[in-house]
């Protein structure tokens, strides 16, 4: 079987090379062209933040601004109260330092379970261009937290809002870490239009996406 895959490999590569006569230097010189980056890449920090908020809200995310990370537990409790969301919650191991008990939250720390009502995670970046959140998987930020609960609450630092997708990749490469198993760009809550093109939220992923925007310069 392995031998057959090897044989298929050479067969496909040979077919591709023959078809294109890839030996010719002209073909190899074809450049992928200039990168076209949307104008929002040029925005300053406050412009990026304003655009991010507009785009995320348009995608049906909700946003609450707080002045510091210490306020997260209380902001989470307020949100759950407003939405009348009861039940178990789970936080990303990355975020386990905060005094959740003081805010009256009963939560565990770890990866997502089917029974979780809500999850709380951080984010690697916010993307102004589309209002997307960029989340990286890792021991402190399991991917299941982003998909299994009914509500996904994401804490994002205003300083981590970048202009475009390209900015996320350059920030990631600046970290000089290996590409994580999963990079999620998440824009608003899960939805489907597969039944008569009517929009329904909470298809397979969270029905609610709530962003706690931590803006220390406010």
């Amino acid at each position: 079987m392995i031998a057959r895959t090897q044989q298929s490999r050479s067969q496909i590569l040979a077919a591709v090379r023959n078809a294109l006569d890839q030996g010719s230097p002209n073909k190899r010189a074809t450049s992928p062209g200039k990168l076209v980056v949307p104008a929002c890449a040029e925005l300053d920090a406050s412009g990026r933040q304003a655009l991010f908020i507009d785009m995320a809200v348009e995608a049906a995310a909700t946003i609450h601004q707080i002045a510091s990370a210490e306020k997260i537990p209380w902001a989470v409790a307020d949100y759950l109260g407003e939405r009348k969301l009861t039940g178990k919650g789970v936080i990303a191991p990355d975020m386990s330092e905060l005094p959740y008990g003081q805010a009256g939250l009963d939560i565990r720390c770890g990866n997502g379970k089917d029974s979780d009502t809500f999850s709380l995670t951080g984010a690697f970046a916010g993307i102004a261009e589309t209002g997307a959140l960029a989340l990286l998987s890792g021991p402190g930020s399991p991917t299941t937290l982003n998909f299994l609960p009914e509500a996904h609450i994401v804490a994002l630092k205003a300083d981590d809002i970048v202009g475009t997708y390209e900015d996320v990749w350059s920030r990631l490469s600046a970290l000089e870490i290996a590409m994580p198993r999963t990079v999620n760009f998440i824009t608003g809550p899960s939805r489907t239009a597969d039944i008569e093109q009517t929009m329904q939220f909470g298809a397979h992923g969270p029905r609610h996406l709530h962003i706690l925007l931590i803006d220390e310069h406010r």
């Binding site: 496909i12 590569l13 076209v36 299941t144 990749w169 998440i186 899960s190 939805r191 397979h204």
Partner: protein
């Protein structure tokens, strides 16, 4: 000849019969009417608010051209990155090889239950039937795909597979499959499907997704979804299999951003979908979740034979489905009439390439040559021109029906003799006008009964085109 996958020989020909059935199918016509210009308007709105869009189409086109011109190098680079991150690439020449590779991986994982994200390649190779026949249960998790799996059908649209199904049909399908009481509101139907499929996600041994792109720079597979089903499919089971064809490669993460920008706007008119996910290798040693194994099944299935030839440009296709939504033929007959998983203009070009034009000779004719598809294609594929290439090829290979060939030869004889052509068309125009009389049209004409069955043929009103054109030049 290339494998036909899930499709019987019967489905390959008989386009006209399927079209007639589609036109007579009130429920389908109702669904197509409901679809209406929805996709067209959403795309137009998204494009209008994004001034860079036309330049991005050029950029996306040149990225794909560059990839195709260097495809072998990028495939090797992609493979080495996948291997480096702990995954495995499986090269498959045709549909049969791909089906068997997936089956082997499932067996090695002792899999009984397989969840699937939306994958056109899985449809192309007829994967579900193959797994089922070997005792493995495949469950589609994209809501549209799940609906058509319950109905035992194939997708009728690349990005909206159950677009032909009514709410009442979904109610009936869920009622009989789940044994629950009939639910009618879309939100209740979605909730019911979510509960049923959540169990499947948690119990599945293997998750199979497609890929909107494969990134050579990092060995990542990219999926673009709104439901989140693809993410649960590739995160929860022990094994993640990506099914992708060889032309899905992009060189870098930055290139993927360009493709994403044109893909989502062209497909659903969204700035971006809810979830865009880059999966790279299996879970890392300290990760708390994610699959233990990562496989990429790379399918050729006739694509390398298109490289560098007349149909090279169709390999740029990013499967956004915009050409379906903008096609008057698709809007009239729906996707199933094409008889292939790929419908609309891109399907009319790609299907003959996969099956051989002798098995799909009518599809390149499923066009009014209006050019709308080409005008909106995010990677500027000259679709009407490629359909014309197929028509030429099927004429020169004597594949078309004899009467059609005879008619074309007759026309060609006249067309090559301008003077005779002018006299003959002038005579024909006058005769038809005379015969039509006051009514000005024909309800039946010999030889073109197929045309006049559905509508009246208007009679020429004055001189020929040539004559009118000359008059205009003289003025």
């Amino acid at each position: 000849m290339t494998e036909v996958g899930a499709y019987s020989a019967e489905s390959r020909n008989g386009f006209n019969a399927r079209v007639e059935r589609a036109l007579a199918d009130d429920q389908l016509q109702h669904a197509l009417k409901r679809l209406g210009s929805g996709f067209v308007e959403k795309r137009a709105r998204a494009v209008a608010r994004f001034p860079e869009f036309e330049r991005l189409r050029d950029a996306a086109t040149s990225i794909k051209n560059h990839v195709l011109a260097n495809l072998a190098d990028y495939l090797e680079k992609f493979e080495s990155k996948v291997t480096e991150t702990g995954g495995q690439v499986h090269w498959c020449v045709d549909a049969e090889a791909a089906r068997n590779t997936v089956l082997r991986i499932c067996r090695e994982a002792d899999a009984r239950l397989v969840t699937k994200g939306k994958s056109m390649i899985a449809e192309e190779i007829g994967l579900n039937a193959h797994l089922t026949a070997h005792g493995i249960e495949p469950v589609e998790t994209d809501l549209g795909e799940y609906i058509i799996q319950l109905a035992g059908e194939t997708p009728s649209h690349i990005i909206a597979p159950a677009v032909h199904k009514s709410r009442e049909q979904v109610t009936a399908l869920f009622h009989s499959a789940h044994g629950t009481k009939p639910r009618h509101a879309p939100e209740d139907l979605v909730r019911e499907a979510k509960a049923v499929l959540r169990r499947k996600f948690l119990d599945a041994d293997v998750g199979i997704t497609g890929a909107n792109m494969l990134v050579a720079e990092t060995g990542s597979a990219v999926i673009v979804t709104n439901e989140g089903n693809g993410d649960l499919t590739q995160t929860l089971p022990r094994v993640h299999i990506v099914l992708a064809s060889i032309e899905k490669i992009v060189p870098t993460l930055n290139d993927s951003a360009t493709i994403l920008r044109v893909l989502t706007r062209s497909a659903t008119g969204q700035e971006t979908t809810v979830y865009t996910t880059f999966a790279t290798g299996p879970r890392r040693p300290d990760d708390l979740d994610g699959p233990e194994a990562f496989h990429v099944v790379l399918l050729d299935n006739g694509r390398s034979a298109l490289l560098g030839g007349e149909f090279h440009d169709i390999l740029r296709c990013i499967r956004c489905g915009a050409c379906l939504g903008h096609c008057p033929i698709y809007a009239t007959i729906g996707g199933h009439a094409y008889g292939s998983v790929y419908s609309g203009p891109m399907g009319a070009v790609l299907t003959p390439a996969l099956w051989g034009v002798e098995n799909a000779r009518d599809l390149p004719h499923a066009s009014t040559s209006c050019g709308r598809c080409e005008s909106i294609c995010p990677v500027r594929i000259p679709l009407p021109g490629l359909m014309r290439h197929w028509r030429e090829r099927s004429f020169s290979r004597r594949i078309d029906p004899r009467r059609q060939r005879a008619a074309l030869r007759l026309w060609a004889w006249f067309a090559a003799r301008p003077r005779i052509y002018r006299v003959a068309t002038g005579l024909a125009a006058r005769t038809l006008k005379l015969l039509a009389g006051r009514r000005g049209s024909f309800t039946r004409l010999p030889l073109v009964g197929g045309w006049t069955d559905g509508r009246d043929m208007p009679a020429p009103e004055g001189g020929t085109f040539h004559r009118q054109w000359h008059r205009r030049l003289e003025q």
